[in-house]
Symmetry: D2
Subunit: 166 residues, 4 copies
């Protein structure tokens, strides 16, 4: 069983509800709980790189993610990420990750809200990262897109294919 590295960066995946302030916020990642719930028995190493709303992710943050991917000993890497700028991070990584399989995934609904797409996406992303050749991909909506052929449709909240830029 090939080892898989998971990098956590935050996003809707991990938002929680602060009942004293009535606001959404980040605390700890729910990933270990989700993997337990999914009875996942893969060889996984998880590390939290940051815990941010992806709308607030800077280029510095993206450099940090890229360096972490480049330095990782594993050939297969999963990144949990907010959906709003997931395509930006994918494009930031794409040209540099030619020797490793990197899959970004996220959620539209916080896992803590009980009806999340996160568990479904996590399952599919872990399968894609095990089977796809080196490259950077986004796994959302049951599908998998190469990093330069995908965008989030903000009206529908789904990811869709676009022709690669020339």
């Amino acid at each position: 069983m090939e080892p898989i590295r998971i990098f956590i960066t935050g996003g809707t995946f991990d938002k929680e509800y602060n009942e004293l302030q009535g606001r959404l916020f980040f605390r700890d990642t729910h990933l270990p709980e989700m993997l337990r719930l999914g009875r996942c028995h893969l060889d996984l190493q998880t590390r939290t790189l940051m815990m941010v709303d992806s709308l607030e992710m800077s280029d510095n943050d993206r450099d940090l993610i890229r360096d972490a991917c480049l330095r990782a000993q594993e050939q297969r890497i999963l990144i949990t990420h907010g959906t709003d700028t997931m395509e930006d991070t994918a494009r930031h990584l794409g040209p540099f990750m030619t020797a490793k399989t990197v899959v970004l995934t996220g959620a539209m609904i916080p896992y803590a809200f009980g009806s999340s797409d996160g568990l479904f996406n996590l399952g599919s992303a872990l399968a894609f990262v095990q089977t796809l050749p080196p490259g950077v991909y986004i796994a959302m909506n049951g599908r998998c897109f190469p990093w330069d052929q995908v965008r989030k449709n903000r009206a529908t909240g789904t990811f869709e294919e676009i022709p690669p830029a020339r």
Copy 2:
């Protein structure tokens, strides 16, 4: 986007709680609801072949599943199945399905019970069925096993690799 055929056969996936009798039973499949929850946007055709506990699945039932797979126009097929005899059905299909990718998956906890591994498994099975070469596989616990190299460990409730029979 390549079309995927889903065949539903029952299993823990779809068990519900009868509150008048205090017993588990089958009614309708939860698959459409799970796909909606997962915001899945694949090209899927779903058909219920049967709705049984896999401990009560007969060889006739398995012939029926095999025939349905052989006759399906799609090259990629997902089967939801009880975990207790999933490996038997995989072995029933394996020698005949050399031209199509067939993935069996299921759940240890009924989806209706709110803490199911089903959503995670469904996500991973749909990813595996899109990416793996022709053959019959079992997708459970985040992993994917060829049909002749897998068994359910009844003590732990997880699936594990075994050497292929000679």
Copy 3:
């Protein structure tokens, strides 16, 4: 079985998550679903008066609630309300409701987030409204407080008894 009037005013009870904007918002009340889930078989008449965050509730809104209570034909009235200003509305109603039993209740966690205290509070509020003598009360945390002897402790998120003002 004595009829009970339910007035809905919004509050955390009924907040939902907008997955396109990543924000909390109001749509329809979850009360009918909650009553169904609770297998509630009381004689209830439900009406939505407004759907607001209680921090944005004005004195006009409170007059509207008071008038609705005064005009209701039922002797027993339940009001769902945001917790932030629940005590203010209770004080607004208190001096006028000497002939009817009025119980305000709410939730700290939105019902839609799957782990709500709302179902518990709804059950207790419906029991208190059936059994208490005329007056205005707040039912939260399993307890019931007269309108002039209660405040929300903002540090803990719980309601607590205070001496009546003189």
Copy 4:
């Protein structure tokens, strides 16, 4: 705040799903978790008397429950109980409990299955036990019935009023 004693006897309230055997079973009570979820701040003392399906409750078991109620120092007692024979236990206790308020409650759906009426019933039962005069009652479906005027309608799964036996 008057202290309340809670006696746990099992019932659907506390059933769980054994994923290795695909069967329902009892382990620990979910009551503390439910009280935490409900943000309940009452003065409660909880004790598990037994953990049984109420169809298997014997007269000896009912004597044990009655003795525990008689010996309890608290004047207000809540009993969680399977719904199938809840009325039998209520009749067993009724003639003896003239000085204490005793409320029996339960659930049609196990709490662990995520969509339980248990949280709603628990909230209402705790409110009834605080407000009703001495006597034995069943709190289900948002209602409260004296011990000698109630039966479970097995066709609908709801509790209904009957004239007291003469």
